[in-house]
Amino acid sequence: MTWLMAAAGSALQVLVAFVSTIAFAVIFHAPRKELFFTGLTGGTGWLVYLLAQAAGSGVVASSFLATLALAWLSRVLSFSRKTPVTVFLICGIFPLVPGAGIYYTGYNFFMGRDAVALQKGLETIKIAVAIALGTGIVQSLPPFLFHRKKR
């Protein structure tokens, strides 16, 4: 029963990630017909993040794997929807961006806990690098991997 509860909890989280990505797509003035698909990339990213965490990865590794999946999906969508990758990537990446890291860095820095602040700051940068590597690697892959051959 516990795993069922956990699965339901994760499904809810993925749904929330889906909704939040769409909210950001609206803030960045994405056209209405692409909103659903931006949500998909955000939801997928978070799903992979949760799976990676469940498999025992740390925050940085999970962010990396999630970004790989998200960037992959963005490229596939960009081909099938004939839309710039940026539209899906920028919106979908928001759930992974290290907002919590920035908060804890600022908090501990100003509360005089320098060691913790340094640690959190470093973690924030690590997550940003993980995200960078994830999107960068997928971006560098050759295009034929992302769309079915025509003809």
Binding site: V26, H29, P31, P84, F109, G136
Partner: protein, 256 residues
């Protein structure tokens, strides 16, 4: 064509850059359009905040530069529309005059209405507060912080507040509201409320674009945007930390 053959590709590049496209897209789009209209000797160099382009027509060379201070305005709809237009131009569907008219339509593509942006910012804040482990009550509080935040951002944009001041003051404002709600007994975790609310400010666009620039070899632009992301992130951290410290001094360390 109006004044020079450069006008169309140049303006298309400008719209892309202003609305948050990555460097390689700007460059490729401009080159594609120039090729479609047989503009000779077309050469373009794009940076995060400027475009330099040259071309020759009837043996006369034209050059244009464009400078722009990157703001926070990102309009994905306009990027998409210019992308679509450049495809159609490459297929030979439009004369330069027609394309120019279509481009001016793209320029005036509307922003999402203020109220729906405000609502979305609130929903986003609530959703992230929940995703980062906040309770339902935290999410509701973050929802209200999100409303306040987008309202303030709109005000700051109208007053043309600088980017750093905007981020600094906006994160401070959100922290103030989140902490105030928390001190009144609303919300279970102050940190989750505030984390959810500041995600709107976190430089995700700058970070993403910076990476894309780096990996397509535009190191200078990538570095500019990375610096932008780091500075904005720093501003948010300072805004949050300052208010928390202030409140903790005022309340005698109750905020922990």
């Amino acid at each position: 064509m109006p004044s020079s053959p450069l006008e169309l590709p140049f303006q298309m590049g400008q719209v892309l850059l202003e609305n948050g496209a990555e460097i390689s897209r700007v460059q490729e789009t401009m080159e594609r359009v120039a090729r479609a209209y047989d503009i000779g000797g077309f050469d373009v160099y794009v940076l995060t905040n400027s475009i330099f382009a040259t071309a020759t027509e009837d043996g006369v060379s034209h050059s244009t530069t464009f400078r722009y201070v990157p703001g926070t305005a990102v309009h994905l709809g306009r990027i998409m529309a210019v992308n679509q237009l450049s495809r159609e131009i490459a297929e030979g569907l439009h004369t330069p005059e027609e394309a120019m008219e279509l481009l001016s339509d793209i320029r005036t593509l509307p922003y999402s209405p203020f109220l729906s942006r405000m609502f979305c910012c609130a929903v986003g804040s609530a959703a992230f507060s929940f995703l980062f482990g906040g309770s339902w009550v935290d999410a509701v509080v973050a929802f209200f912080c999100g409303l306040v935040l987008e309202g303030y951002l709109d005000f700051a944009a109208k007053k043309k507040l600088s980017k750093f001041l905007t981020n600094l003051s906006a994160s401070a404002l959100v922290t103030l509201f989140g902490a105030a709600f928390f001190l009144m007994g609303l919300g279970d975790n102050m940190d989750k409320i505030i984390i959810g609310s500041i995600i709107r400010l976190v430089p995700g666009v700058a970070l993403t674009n910076s990476i894309r620039d780096f990996f397509s070899g535009d190191y200078l632009s990538g570095a500019i945007r990375m610096l932008d992301a780091i500075l904005v992130g720093g501003c948010i951290a300072v805004g949050v930390g300052f208010i928390i410290r202030l409140l903790s001094v005022l309340t005698g360390g109750a905020l922990l």
